[in-house]
């Protein structure tokens, strides 16, 4: 198994609060990797550090053998990591298609001059972007809403659109921040299928999720965070039986035995 992402001793503090403390984890190419933990455990903080939104106070993130630039989201996307947000962040006034087309930004090259002159390359690129965007909408199953302004889409479709937009950046690692939050059972089932398709098509998936059933069923391996520390990392079946994990989820934090 080839290592895709290697997080080494990542630490992030906010004033006196240590949101992430020496978190190390390894994501292998082609797997669905889960990151779970109680509220406030540091999952989203890890996401933000990984995607360049935060600068870590310590540690490093090695992606595909090279260190990720910290605090530079656009370079992280260029390196091949795309993300979605816990509270959906679409470009509200743009159509579904335009949202995905905007996602192609980093993989397209037309500069202002070639756009103003409408060079053949610029036109050809624009055509390809449109085509690719339609393909991606079809891929996530919402191509019939291509011309719908994204704020008018249903909640589940907005989630799918956000995934399509992230995929438009042609990532090797797709980081999904609680994609099933607020979804009903049918929508969650469809989401699970989508994630499996994405993985099947060669994109590694990092999944933050509260829905334990979804995580256990979908992830190849997972890590559990609690109070900013990694307390377990293994295949779901093993993590499920881990005493520290059970303690973290059922309360009685501190000594694992107290929860039992």
């Amino acid at each position: 198994m080839i290592t895709l992402l290697d997080a080494r001793n990542v630490t992030k503090r906010f004033g006196g609060l240590t949101a992430l403390s020496d978190v190390s984890l390894t994501i292998r190419k082609g797997e669905v990797y889960g990151l779970i933990g109680p509220n406030g455990a540091g999952k989203t903080t890890f996401f933000n550090v990984l995607t360049g939104a935060y600068v870590p106070d310590g540690g490093e993130l090695v992606f595909n053998g090279t260190e990720l630039p910290s605090g530079k989201p656009d370079q992280v996307v260029a390196a091949g990591i795309a993300r979605t947000f816990q509270n959906i962040r679409l470009f509200r006034d743009m159509t579904a298609l335009e949202n995905v087309m905007a996602g192609h930004h980093i993989r397209s090259r037309a500069n202002p001059l070639s756009i103003l002159l409408q060079t053949r390359q610029a036109k050809e690129e624009e055509r390809l972007i449109t085509e690719r965007a339609f393909e991606l909408l079809r891929y996530v199953g919402i191509e019939r809403f291509a011309d719908t302004v994204s704020k008018n889409l249903s909640y589940g479709d907005q989630r799918r659109l956000e995934i399509a937009r992230a995929l438009a950046t042609e990532p090797q690692l797709l980081a999904l921040d609680e994609p099933a939050a607020g979804m009903n059972a049918t929508e969650t089932a469809r989401l699970r299928e989508l994630v499996q398709t994405i993985r099947h098509d060669g994109v590694t998936v990092l999944l933050i999720e509260h829905d334990v059933k979804l995580v256990m069923g979908l992830c190849d391996r997972l890590a559990v965070l609690d109070f900013g520390r990694k307390i377990a990392e293994d295949v779901p079946a093993v993590v499920q039986k881990n005493e520290a994990v059970i303690a973290a989820y059922l309360g009685g934090h501190g000594t694992a035995g107290a929860a039992a």
Partner: protein, 369 residues
């Protein structure tokens, strides 16, 4: 050019081609209609064209990229003063317009970047305050740079600026055709300005429907998400500021040549606000709306000036409300009504791909193969 059709929505929706031709025809014969009411009206049309250019440029910054700029007129000033410095007896430099205009545009773009760099992290109210300050700084510089070394000639402004000379043809002189037909230079300026407006529309439209335009729209809608899909928001914002300023700079140069005279009072805060009002009134983010807004709000005060006084005299035998007062009153009223009835302007912005004919055609074509 489909946006053109939208300038007259009731026709544009059903017969875009017809609407487009109506717009083109109107643009071409406008001065001929205006002359029926007197030469002043042709002059007003000329100024309207300059305001349209300003509105197009400001719309690029405010409407497309969502960066509220209250000091936009500063770029107009930079363009105008560049022209005044390099084509007038003031420094006794007389460069041709095809050198001066691009230079003015370039300096304006530079000014845009100078304004953009320190304000990259600001949004909304905070950005508005800084840009407002920037606009005032430029005006105050123009006002006071006559001492100790006289650069701008202070509040007196710069006079006797060279007119536009196209291939040795001075367009500020009337053209005589045969014996008794003369074409006033106001007409010539109109068509020159119209050409610049058309070019601006084409260029801005190309930008809007491109990866750059989408990046701007993304930053406008959600800057964090824009970063998360890999858009370099710093560069894109600077690009918006500098390109927007370029249009202001060109308009400024044309203004200087047309007017033959520039002074700091033409570049007050009220002018910035007037241009912003035009794009809000017309429909921020929509080219057709912005143009209609600029035309409407340039014409309105002039119509008032010519109508209000006679009407009041006829009705009350005296002038009760000065046209200038009335103008502010009506403009405010128009804005309030606008916000209540059509908050996104007369012709609201729409998503390019929200037009069914484009998407359906495309999707059907895709499905067939």
């Amino acid at each position: 050019m489909n946006e053109l059709a939208l300038a007259i929505p009731w026709l544009g929706k059903r017969h875009p081609a017809a609407a487009r031709w109506v717009v083109v025809a109107l643009a071409l014969v406008a001065p001929l209609i205006a002359i029926l009411f007197g030469k002043t009206w042709v002059r007003i049309l000329d100024f309207a064209m300059l305001y349209v250019m300003l509105a197009i440029g400001l719309n690029l910054v405010v409407g497309f990229a969502g960066l509220l700029d209250l000091g936009y007129i500063a770029f107009y000033a930079v363009g105008a003063y560049t022209f005044a410095f390099l084509a007038s007896p003031h420094f006794d430099i007389h460069l041709p317009f095809w050198i001066v205009l691009p230079l003015g545009a370039g300096f304006a773009a530079l000014a845009g970047i100078i304004l953009g760099l320190p304000t990259l992290r600001l949004r909304g109210d905070y950005l508005a305050i800084v840009t407002l300050g920037f606009g005032e700084i430029v005006r105050i510089f123009m006002n006071n740079l006559n001492h100790p070394v006289n650069i701008t000639n202070g509040p007196q402004g710069i006079n006797m600026i060279d007119p536009l000379v196209v291939f040795g043809w001075d367009i500020s002189r009337p053209v005589k055709i045969g014996e008794d037909i003369t074409i006033n230079s106001l007409f010539l300026y109109y068509y020159v300005f119209l050409a610049f407006v058309v070019l601006s529309v084409i260029l801005v439209q190309r930008l809007q429907i491109s990866r750059v335009g989408r990046a701007w729209a993304a930053i406008r809608d959600d800057e964090l998400a824009a970063k998360a899909i890999g858009i370099n928001t710093r560069n894109m914002k600077l690009l918006a500021f500098s390109l927007g300023a370029t249009f202001g700079g060109v308009a400024g140069g044309l203004f200087a040549a047309f007017q033959g005279f520039v002074s700091p009072e033409s570049f007050s805060l009220m002018e910035s606000i007037a241009v912003l009002t035009m794009i809000v009134f017309g429909g921020m983010g929509n080219l057709a709306g912005v143009i209609v807004g600029a035309l409407a709000l340039t014409a309105l005060p002039e119509v008032l000036r010519h109508v209000a006084v006679p009407v009041q005299q006829a009705v009350f035998d005296r002038v009760i409300l000065d046209p200038e007062v009335l103008r502010m009153l009506l403009l405010s009223l128009a804005m309030i009504l606008m916000m209540l009835l059509r908050p996104s302007g007369m012709i609201p912005a729409y998503s390019r791909y929200s037009r069914p004919e484009l998407v359906v055609g495309k999707a059907a074509g895709e499905g067939a193969k």
